[in-house]
């Protein structure tokens, strides 16, 4: 039981919203669409749901072509960023509405509504109207309405974006639990890499209407296939530096060199782009092979237990995330150490040539 998109594209008035995309989502999987706004996540979801007809390509559900089928005829549920509920109906009626449309018996409806409400902790609120509830509760009501009809495909378009930070955390922790119970295909769109990591499952990274990579979330995170995926899937943003390989050495400029070991030895000589994540920069020498970079410190941001360092190294602007509280003065020249095992090597066109050794070992 799978959802298959075959070379699906969408062009609206000459603008390409979605480049030809092929994707297969298996039953019972949680799939995250990760990308900045306007990267094509909503367009892709709308094509999956049947709200929009793709300009080219086919949508297959259980092996059947459903491309032209209207969304009302498919078993799809969708939850939006704005808490969308029927304002004049109580929470009970809201959740019951799709079942009533399907013509189920009153006893069946009652059972399904009560069990879904229980799962989403809405039981005490069944008698109230949506506008009397808090934002988090309204979104739970919308989620309940989506889940109660036991659709095969549940689409969530940044459902937690309008909620408080802490509420987002709580609801986000519940989504995997709810998802496991239902067995449907879940598709969850978000702009935050951390959400993708917390939800697990599979992730598809999107950039400017293209899916750059699709696979199990930890894998896409640790083994990005190109620089775009790496950039989309990093928060703080990934740091880059140009480097050159000559013979047995990789030079990062200013007499910072690393031996070309392991997979690096097989690389042809030339210019490459090295990428590494912010949390792999350290303020002390933590390993024998660590490379030292002299940087000028811009602003430091303290988040209680960690510190963000905004650095410039030559023309590069970097962000470092270090443990502990360090209140260093801006303008200071400091050294940061990076273990070559944490470095990804990309060719000038952005394709990954050598993944970071630590990621391969995990």
């Amino acid at each position: 039981m799978a959802l298959e998109l075959q070379s699906v594209s969408r062009v609206v008035k000459g603008q390409v919203h979605l480049h030809p995309t092929t994707l297969t989502l298996e039953k019972g999987t949680m799939n995250v669409l990760l990308g900045p706004t306007l990267s094509g996540k909503t367009s892709l979801m709308r094509v999956m749901a049947g709200l929009d007809v793709p300009t080219s390509g086919r949508v297959m559900w259980h092996g059947q072509d459903v491309t032209g089928q209207r969304v009302q005829d498919r078993k799809v549920a969708m939850v939006y960023q704005q808490f969308i509920n029927y304002p004049a109906m109580s929470v009970y009626d809201n959740i019951a509405s799709p079942l009533r449309l399907m013509g189920k018996s009153a006893a069946e409806i009652d059972r399904a509504v009560k069990s879904t409400a229980e799962m989403l902790k809405l039981t005490p609120m069944l008698g109230r109207k949506p506008l009397e509830l808090s934002g988090g509760q309204q979104q739970r009501c919308a989620l309940a309405r989506a889940l109660v009809k036991e659709a095969g495909l549940v689409l969530l378009d940044e459902p937690l974006a309008n909620l408080d930070y802490k509420l987002r955390e709580e609801l986000r922790a519940e989504i995997p639990r709810i998802f496991e119970a239902s067995g449907a295909i879940f598709v969850y769109a978000t702009t935050e890499p951390e959400e993708a990591l917390l939800l697990g499952g599979n992730t598809a990274t999107l950039w400017e209407g293209r899916v750059t990579q699709f696979g199990p979330t930890p894998q896409v995170y640790r083994q990005p296939m190109d620089a775009t995926t790496a950039r989309v899937f990093s928060d703080p943003p990934m740091n880059f530096i140009d480097c050159r390989k000559t013979g047995h050495r990789i030079s990062f400029g200013e007499a910072v060199n690393a031996p070309a070991d392991g997979a690096l030895a097989a690389l042809p000589d030339g210019s490459y782009r090295a990428g590494f994540r912010a949390n792999h920069l350290h303020l002390n020498v933590h390993s024998g092979t660590a490379l030292e970079f002299r940087c000028t410190l811009g602003v430091t941001e303290i988040t209680g237990s960690e510190t963000f360092l905004h650095l410039s190294h030559g023309a590069n602007r970097w962000v470092g995330l270090v443990h502990g509280v360090h209140d260093l003065s801006p303008g200071a020249e400091i050294s940061l150490w990076l273990d070559p095992a944490h470095v990804y090597l990309f060719d000038p066109s952005g394709r990954l040539v050598v993944p970071a050794p630590y990621a391969m070992a995990a």
Partner: protein
């Protein structure tokens, strides 16, 4: 946002199309027929081609009526639009008084046109009308039956009384849609009342204002009942606007050919102006990114 095709929608529209066809399109075709023939309506048609059109275009009488009409519409718009905006800006937005004001504003719009005309006709009479009587008592020489200027003033004031509410209500609706944050930001930015009007309220009311102006222009350009009831087109022909003239021609003189030609041209002018407004409005919408 494109919706998936739903062909059933056409069936729902069919009854409307049938009604419009019978009540508008077919009669219109009849008028076109009359305009290119010479007839007295007794089913005898003599081809006249564009003769009637030529006669109408060169007719002085039509030019004068047109001139009066344009002057009337211009005065109406010049008074009603600013007045309507001013009223809308000062109507209360919340509370009991908001509902009371809305009802009061709506009342003039609910009165049938010929009743409006009759009200003002009696109101303005020097012998029994409240207005006419008190004006005469104050020593003002007011008589709309034999002074063209007085007739004009009466007709203009009547129209303003009747229709300003429409503009006020439309603008009021437009104003309601402005989020509070804009007013708050203006206070923070230390903007003057005029700046708030010019940069926040007016732009947001643009869409509604355009609709309001279009409606008022069209209505005033076609105005018939109210001035006819009050002045009958007089004194002389000082308040004979285009439709009054047209009716005189068609019904009074039975000049069906010229009247039909006149109607067609009249219709085309209104169509043209509406199209211009519509294009401007949709271009504005496009700029907003809608």
């Amino acid at each position: 946002m494109e919706k998936t095709q739903n062909n059933k929608a056409w069936f729902l529209v069919l009854p409307v199309l049938v009604v419009v066809a019978f009540s508008a399109i077919i009669p219109l075709m009849t008028v076109v027929n009359y305009s290119v023939n010479d007839t007295f309506g007794n089913n005898e048609f003599f081809w006249a081609g564009l003769e009637w059109f030529e006669e109408m275009v060169t007719s002085d009488r039509l030019h004068e009526a047109l001139g009066r009409q344009i002057l009337f519409s211009a005065i109406i718009l010049a008074i009603e639009v600013p007045l309507g905006i001013y009223i809308a800006l000062n109507m209360p937005k919340k509370g009991v008084w908001a509902s009371v004001c809305l009802v009061l504003m709506a009342l003039p719009l609910l009165i049938p046109f010929n009743v409006v005309g009759t009200i003002w006709q009696i109101f303005g009479r020097v012998d029994i009308g409240l207005l006419g009587h008190y004006l005469a008592a104050l020593g003002i020489d007011y008589n709309y039956t034999n002074d063209p200027v007085d007739a004009w003033i009466t007709v203009v004031v009547m129209d303003v009384w009747h229709w300003t509410s429409l503009i006020a209500l439309l603008c009021y609706a437009g104003l309601q849609s402005i989020p509070n944050a804009y007013y708050q930001a203006a206070r923070v930015d230390q903007a003057s009342r005029w700046a708030v009007f010019r940069y926040i309220e007016l732009p947001k009311m643009q869409g509604v204002l355009l609709i309001a102006v279009l409606l008022r222009f069209m209505d005033s350009f076609m105005i018939y009942t109210e001035p006819f009831v009050v002045t009958g087109g007089g004194p002389g022909n000082s308040t004979t606007f285009l439709s009054i003239d047209l009716v005189k021609m068609a019904v009074g003189q039975f000049d069906l050919g010229p009247a039909a030609a006149f109607s067609i041209m009249y219709f085309l002018v209104i169509l043209l102006v509406s199209w211009v407004f519509y294009t401007v409005m949709t271009n504005l919408d496009k700029e907003e990114g809608r």
